[in-house]
């Protein structure tokens, strides 16, 4: 029982392919990180998984059924999507935003019931923002806003969450807040797919990692097997050093890129003042 993408192909204009036969699986109870450079197709892949775009070839299966066969409302009750950028237009209150997550359960001519409100409040509590219910969500910080949107996805009753770069544009404290929340959500049985630019974060939070480059999967697997410098260089074209302290904690640190720059650094101020004289 999982959300599976099989050999997806997608192109925007019919010529350049953005996804070239990508397969991956989101399993309930796990955090799956999707890494890759800009333009590798991460967001497109996310959107295909969420039924927001239709692949030219390949298919997406939700617990064994193809997405196109599942009515849109049913899909929305199973898959939650949190975009990277959310531009507020109206200053809705936080609770009102989360309530919108109940849309898949409401008919076109009805609005939320007290039960829906209760569920929305529950979702807000789950992300730790129940005190914010009455505040306009335009007054929130970037991290809090991200949490509200996650709460909205929870209010959908979704079993699978697709988060597009949830840690982007956030300061370290907020990043931790969001990622720790994700860990908590997954502990309750949801499957979460996260796109990220941060291999280091993946190291700490992922149970499964997919590396994407130019629309193709370079490698997939558990973090210790995948998040190694050789694979990262293949995917990103960047050298990483894998550091470990004795207690088993590991971190990935990018090394300097070009060789030339290290030599330039070697010229000291003293040499410059000598030449002046």
């Amino acid at each position: 029982m999982s959300l599976v993408a099989q050999r997806l192909r997608y192109s925007y204009d019919g010529r350049t392919e953005v996804l070239r036969g990508v397969s991956l699986e989101v399993v309930p109870g796990t955090v799956h990180f999707l890494l890759g450079p800009n333009g590798s197709g991460k967001t497109t892949l996310l959107e295909c998984l969420g039924g927001l775009r239709w692949p030219r070839a390949g298919e997406v299966l939700l617990e064994g059924r193809g997405l196109p066969e599942i009515p849109q409302r049913e899909r929305a009750r199973a898959i939650g999507y949190v975009p990277q950028l959310h531009r507020p237009v109206f200053g809705y209150r936080v609770l009102e935003v989360v309530l919108m997550g109940r849309a898949p359960y409401l008919g076109p001519l009805s609005g939320p019931s007290p039960d829906d409100v209760r569920i929305a409040m529950g979702a807000l509590e789950a992300v730790g923002l129940s005190g914010f219910a009455e505040r306009p969500y335009t007054e929130l910080s970037g991290g809090e806003l991200r949490l509200v949107l996650i709460a909205r996805a929870l209010a959908q009753g979704a079993k699978y969450l697709l988060l597009d770069e949830p840690d982007a544009h956030l300061d370290p404290a907020n990043q931790l807040r969001v990622l720790d929340l994700v860990r908590g959500i997954v502990a309750r049985g949801l499957g979460v797919l996260i796109t990220s630019h941060n291999p280091d974060t993946a190291l700490r939070y992922a149970q499964w990692v997919t590396l994407l480059r130019e629309g193709e999967v370079t490698v997939q697997g558990r973090p210790p097997e995948v998040l190694i410098p050789s694979e990262l260089r293949r995917a990103y074209g960047v050298d990483y050093a894998l550091l470990e302290d004795g207690s088993g904690r590991r971190a990935l640190v990018p090394l300097r890129e070009a060789q030339g720059s290290s030599e330039r650094r070697a010229s000291t101020p003293r040499e410059r003042s000598v030449s002046k004289a």
């Binding site: 969420g50 939650g80 975009p83 109206f90 809705y92 009102e96 076109p108 609005g111």
Partner: protein
């Protein structure tokens, strides 16, 4: 607090309607109005006729037209995610104006003029939807199509005005276009009321969903909303309301633009509340303006002119509040 505002908003148009019945060139007075309404025969028959056959139908028409335009404005502002949207954005008014001018040019009787205006208003939006579907159907395309179609019908209207006989036909067209309810009578309600109730009723029931349309399209899709179909449906509802209002009252702008802002300032941006509040405020606004239009001078002040004169400064005020970040916008 919230429910107190709701009650006040509900009572406002009713109270204003009663006040509306008491003002006018023909002096009737408070007791006269009450007497006429309860059917007392102590009143001279002319006064009774003025209240029941002249002012009451016209007041109801003003309230309904105001509510229709405000509802459409609130709906379109939410759907197009734009605070500067008026009920005229999709070209309905321009289409209806052209239809009316055409009907007058052809010499049709007055009741058919309104029907033709309504038909062309719907036709204009059909054209807009058709164009936008062909070119992608995004909000931008929808708005541009609306502007194009509106401009097309305005240009055609100009053509009609040019060839119209300046003695008999052109004044009739100008009179219609200026916007006004001076010929209001009970038979007008036959078309206006059912259409407004239909459009307004469906919109009222589905008002919460407008919140979803105010989201980015991908987010709305992920929440299970069939965005294209929803948008088309709401466009149709809004068009019904605007076309009904315009075909009866001519071109009246600004009501659809200003009222939703005022509503948002009072009840917050949740469309489940903005939409009914807009209806109440729109009805009240137009009742007030029409009382001025028909009662202040010997001649009628065109309603479209009054909404503009009062609308522009009010809009400027609201716009400044917008820029300062207040008023329910992001």
């Amino acid at each position: 607090m919230r429910s107190r505002i709701s009650i006040a908003l509900f009572l406002l148009p009713i109270g204003l309607l009663f006040l509306y019945l008491t003002v006018g060139r023909y002096k009737v007075g408070f007791q006269g109005v009450v007497g006429a309404l309860v059917g007392s025969h102590d009143l001279p028959p002319t006064a009774r006729a003025v209240v029941l056959k002249v002012r009451l139908p016209r007041g109801l028409e003003a309230a309904v037209v105001g509510a229709d335009l405000a509802l459409a404005g609130a709906l379109f502002q939410g759907m197009f995610r734009n605070p500067l949207v008026d009920s005229r954005i999709l070209g309905v008014s321009a289409g209806a104006a052209f239809g009316a001018a055409l009907a007058i040019l052809w010499g049709l009787p007055w009741y058919l003029v309104d029907a033709v205006a309504f038909a062309f208003g719907l036709g204009a939006v059909w054209l807009v939807l058709f164009l936008s579907r062909r070119f992608g159907g995004s909000i931008l395309v929808l708005v541009i199509s609306g502007v194009l179609v509106g401009s097309l019908f305005s240009a055609l209207l100009g053509l009609i005005k040019y060839v119209a006989d300046p003695l008999g036909v052109l004044p009739a067209i100008t009179y219609w276009l200026l916007g006004g309810l001076s010929g209001a009578r009970w038979s007008d309600m036959a078309l206006l009321l059912p259409l407004s109730l239909l459009g307004g009723g469906v919109l009222f029931l589905s008002r919460w969903r407008v919140n979803l349309l105010s989201l980015d399209e991908r987010e709305a899709l992920s929440l299970g909303v069939n965005v294209r179909r929803c948008r088309a449906g709401y466009v149709l509802l809004g068009t019904l309301l605007v076309a009904a209002a315009v075909s009866k009252a001519g071109i009246i702008g600004w009501v659809g633009l200003i009222t939703p802002h005022a509503a948002r300032a009072l009840v917050g941006p949740d469309h489940a509340r903005v939409i009914p509040a807009s209806a109440a405020l729109g009805a009240s606004f137009l009742l007030l303006l029409d009382a001025i239009a028909r009662g202040s001078m010997r001649t009628e002040i065109p309603l479209g002119v009054l909404t503009g004169i009062i609308g522009v400064p009010v809009f400027l005020l609201l716009f400044m509040r917008l820029l300062q970040g207040r008023g329910g916008w992001g």
